[in-house]
Symmetry: C2
Subunit: 143 residues, 2 copies
């Protein structure tokens, strides 16, 4: 499998609205799509950092994994998303190699991208999201 590029970094926060002003006013980020994702137990917002993306995720399910992350470790870096050319093939390749997948099949992520999470045990110690790349040119998938 080939990771094409970093798609986004995600910060877990207690409250998106409390976190946004600093990132917008002090660091010049621009607010993009915002969505409640019931299935994942989070509300998420995308912030543009030039051509790149930061996602803020806030738990809406107190029993969900992001709520537990915040309880255990406090606000901070939650995961990194990487673009792949063929998400189905990437998952099959990882499965065959004995990697621990969190999502056995692609599912819908923020903004409608198809995504799947890989367990930190099988990805350098870091919770890793694979994002189906939708184009050949850089960042064309955000338009």
């Amino acid at each position: 499998m080939l990771l094409e590029r970093i798609h986004h970094v995600a910060y877990a926060v207690e409250d998106i609205d409390a976190a946004l002003p600093e990132l917008i006013e002090r660091y010049g980020m621009r607010v993009g799509i915002r969505e409640r994702m019931e299935e994942q137990g989070v509300e998420a917002v995308a912030l543009d950092v030039g051509p790149d993306r930061l996602e803020l995720i806030q738990p809406i399910d107190p029993e969900g994994s992001v709520a537990r992350f915040l309880e255990r470790r406090g606000p901070g870096l939650h995961h990194v998303g990487y673009a792949v050319g063929d998400l189905d093939a990437a998952l099959e390749e990882l499965r065959s190699a004995g990697a621990e997948l969190i999502d056995e099949r692609p599912r819908r992520g923020l903004g409608g991208h198809m995504i799947a999470f890989v367990h930190p045990h099988s990805a350098g110690g870091v919770l890793t999201e694979l994002v189906q790349s939708e184009r050949s040119g850089r960042h064309g998938d955000r338009t």
Copy 2:
């Protein structure tokens, strides 16, 4: 201040050589510069992910901040580096706004980039590295 883009993500690991094979063979990353940075108490290696960069950092100073991070939290996401057009001006702007800086002045980072760290308290809860951008075009600073 304007963050131009994500410059790199950094993973803290116990042992770079143990972590590398999975990232290279399973995820197709390519090894770039590798350096012992005595002042920061780490050895670091840059991995290219397409046009982007992942850094692995391993403590060489058992009293250093990365060693303490690993003791406290185990291997995982350590910080995010963002490119800025004028690092001196960015630090001055943050200082004036009352932000908590870890480095009051730019210092040398991996590969000779001038960098400075901002405390998580003043950067969305995440340890944040500002990297002096050396060019106007994307990624020209890596050649």
